[in-house]
Structures are given as C-alpha cells and as structure tokens.
Amino acid sequence: MHPDLPVATDVDAAPVVDQATALLVRVADGDQRAFSELYDLMASRMLGLVRHVLKDHAQSEEVVQEVLLEVWQTASRFDPNKGKAVTWMLTMAHRRAIDRVRSAQASRDRDTKIGIRDLGREVDTVSESAEISIEHKRVEKAMARLSDLQRQAVELAYYGGYTQSEVAEMLNIPLGTVKTRLRDGLIRLRTELGVAS
C-alpha cells in the first residue's frame, strides 16, 4: 500500500519477544500452562547460550533447569516496563553460566592459548546459527562493524565468560584498555542494533 514506508527489520523477531513477555506475566500469576509454553519458547535458546559458555551439555542442562525454576519463582519481580522477558531470562541464564564456569575454574583450562582457540570456535558457532536467522544476522552484521580488538574483547567477556581482569591478563594488555574496548564495542553494537540509549 505504501511501498516507501520504512521496513521494520525486526518484524519477525517481535512476536517471540512479545509472546515471551506476555507469558511471563501470566507465569507471575501462577499459571503453569503459561510456564509450559514459555519453556517451549525459551528453553532451547537458553540452553544454546549456556552451552556456548559452558561447553558441557549435562552441566548446561542443569543450569537451564535451575534458571527456569528461578524464573518460575521470581516471575513477579519482572517488570515488563523495564525490559523484555527474553532479555531478562537470557541475562539470568548467562549469569548462571558464567558463575558456573568461574567456580569450575580449577578444573577448566583457562590459560591464554585455550582461551584464544575457544574464541575461534565461538565465532564459527555464532555464524552457523541460522535457526534464529533474523536476530542472528542482525547481531552478526553488527559484530562485523566492531574493530577486531573490540570484537575479541566482547567475545571473550560475553561468550567466553572471562572477567575484564582475565581478559587483560590473557591479552597481556592494561585493564583500562580492556574496559575501553568493551565499552566502545558495546556502544557500537547498540548503535548498529538500533537499541535506544
């Protein structure tokens, strides 16, 4: 009808986001059926993220189960005016995954070489995730706009689960430099992804 109207790029992703938020609001009222639907919508995405960080499948399932139970318990604390349910749940899952990785530090080889090798694999995995193609392509495109150094820092921190101090140590650069790269990288992503600041 109006061919020159701007095309909303996230039009396909929006329903999932809205659906999750609507379901979570119902879950807060004790609706177990809504929780079941929320599980179907989110469990594989949460597991994808957690396993990306943790690697071990069995441990990752444990983490997802813990987080989803926590979602059930604390759904009433979610405020739909302050963010999306998808973000809320993935943030919880990410946190639990990095906590697990860090507490298992002794058993996990986190030296520089392994870290860097892991990084290469992370990038491959991200670029293969065609299933959630809309979001994935947007993120991939946005990541490509970062400098190599920014991208490396963001990936080590977010997907690798390393703290900023660990990243500094691994790359043998000052902590302040890591902080700046993370900040600049994230701001660039925010702009590229069209998130309001």
């Binding site: 807060a28 004790g30 177990q32 929780f35 599980y39 469990a43 594989s44 597991l47 994808g48 993220l49 990306h52 399932e61 997802v64 189960q65 813990e66 139970l69 926590e70 059930w72 318990q73 604390t74 759904a75 009433s76 604390r77 405020d79 302050k82 963010g83 973000t87 993935l90 943030t91 919880m92 899952a93 990410h94 946190r95 639990r96 906590d99 860090r102 995995t125 991200v126 293969e128 995730s129 299933e131 959630i132 994935h136 991939e140 963001v154 921190a157 977010y158 997907y159 703290t163 900023q164 902080k179 993370l182 900040r183 994230l186 992503l189 925010r190 992804l193 998130v195 309001a196 600041s197």
Partner: protein, 291 residues
C-alpha cells in the same frame, strides 16, 4: 544526555556483559541501586548483551528436562507480587527477615529450601541462589518508583544550589548524596573486600569534593563500638565520621570533610564515641587516584 563519568560508563558496560567478578559486580550494584540514570544505561546495554545471547544457536534440551522441571514447578511456591513500594531496597521489616541471610555466604542456601522456608504471605527477601548479582537483578526489575523519584529529587536539589549533605536528616539523605556523586562527570568507584567477606566501595567525585562508602555484608558491632572513617593523606589522618550497621549489613555513608583525589579512605572499629586517631588496624583501606 548522560553526564555519567567515563569510569561509570565503562563499569556499566562490563557489568552488562557479565565481565565483572563477583566483588566488582556486588559493589557496582550497590551504586546502581541509587542511580536512575545509571539504571537506564544498564537497562539499555543489557538489551544489547541480551541480543548477543539470543544470537547463539538454539540447542534442544533432552526430553526429561521439561518433565522434571514441570514437576518442580508444581511443588515450588512463587514469590508474591511486591506490595506498594515502601522500603528503598529489600524489605527490612518482614517477619521472615530474622531468618534472612545477611551475608553473601549465607545467601548460598539451596534455592528450594530457601523458598519453602519463606512464609508465602511475607514480602520475602529474594531467595535465589543468592549471588549478589542475582539479588540485584531481581531488585532491578522491581525498583520502587518512590526511590527513583527520591533520587531524581536529589539531583534537582543539588542543581538548586543546596547540597544535600548539609540538610537536616543526614541518614535519609546519604542515598541521595550517593546518587549525586554517581551522576558527577568525574565520578569514580573503587572497591575492596573487607575482612569477613563484606564488600566496600568508595564512590567519589573530586569536583564535588564528596565521597561515599557503600558496604554490603558488613558485620554488626556491639553497642559500645562504631565503625570510623578516615581520610588518610601521607602521614595525616583526619576523622571522616562514625557509623553503625544493622542486621542487613548494608550501609551507605557519606564521609565528613572534603574529598581530595589521591586520598586513601580507611575504616577502623573504634569505641562508640569515636577516637581522635585510629586505635586499631583498618578493616579496609581504599586508595583513590590523583586527579
């Protein structure tokens, strides 16, 4: 637009990416809780990191996972919706609070046990696996509007030329002063662990000449003792105020006197009416960098 300092913005980004260690995150959250401006920034950055999370390839869980989770859900009570916002942070007057853990270590009770021990009717403390970060995450999504309004009012007060630290009720205003310092263009945060597992953060602004200590998990003292703050510059040690802590272990304390960048802030335990100079070893000392 945002007038947050570079240090604040960098810490917010690292926080949103999960790149702070546990102590750094707990310290940042104490500060975050007081600054609506910083909260908005973190909210926006989290949306970005959430998209990074959503971009990983989905992995199908094994068939049994849903079944066992649904069984757990059927047997697990939920937190009630929060009552009308009254307390600025966690509820402190709830009957369940006596049993509530006040230290990070004590928070690590198993989730199920923590929940079932909580009377369903009480506005319960968040009984999650208890990492400070998760606690604040829950807090974050349910900020009482009143606190946000209070912090906004504090900023308005400051720009009206009245410095909140000089107002009549200092205890009520320390949070507001903290919000101002956090919002200062040269605000910096330095954190350190306190013996016994508590965390201490010093938020300071050279341009305002003000610094604020934020503690989490600090031990209660006997009634004849108090915590004392000191500004330490070279050999000179100037008293910067006394404070006590209740069972919550949470304290926001504005330091007396003018803050100068490069000063070290120390905390000691002293007799309740204070001492002219420290009489014990500091439980924590935080150095600041010269401007």
């Amino acid at each position: 637009m945002s007038a947050l300092s570079n240090d604040m913005l960098e810490t917010a980004a690292a926080y949103a990416l999960g790149a702070l260690d546990a102590d750094e995150a707990a310290a940042f959250e104490s500060v975050l809780a007081t600054s609506p401006e910083l909260q908005r920034e973190v909210e926006s950055l989290r949306e970005v990191s959430g998209m990074l999370g959503a971009a990983t390839a989905p992995v199908a869980p094994s068939a049994g996972l849903k079944q066992s989770l649904m069984a757990q859900v059927a047997a697990t009570p939920q937190l009630p919706r929060e009552q009308a916002p009254a307390a600025p942070t966690e509820p402190t007057a709830a009957p369940s609070d006596a049993a509530a853990p006040s230290h990070a270590a004590a928070h690590r009770a198993p989730t199920l046990a923590a929940v079932s021990a909580t009377p369903a009717a009480a506005p319960a403390p968040i009984p999650m696996s208890g990492l400070a970060s998760e606690k604040a995450n829950a807090r974050w999504f349910s900020r009482p509007a009143s606190l946000v309004a209070a912090a906004a009012a504090a900023v308005a007060l400051f720009f009206g030329g009245v410095f909140a630290a000089d107002l009549v009720n200092p205890a009520a205003n320390d949070q507001q002063v903290l919000a101002q310092v956090v919002a200062a263009p040269d605000a910096t945060v330095a954190s350190s662990e306190v013996a016994g597992g508590a965390t201490a953060s010093l938020v300071s602004s050279e341009s305002l000449g003000v610094s604020v200590m934020v503690f989490d998990g600090l031990d209660e003292l006997s009634s004849d003792e108090a915590y004392a703050l000191w500004y330490i510059t070279g050999d000179e040690i100037a008293p910067a105020g006394l404070f006590t802590v209740d069972g919550s272990g949470e304290v926001v304390q504005v330091l007396d006197g003018e803050f100068v960048a490069g000063t070290v802030v120390g905390v000691t335990v002293e007799p309740a009416d204070g001492s002219p100079q420290p009489t014990s070893e500091p439980i924590v000392a935080i150095a600041t960098t010269e401007a």
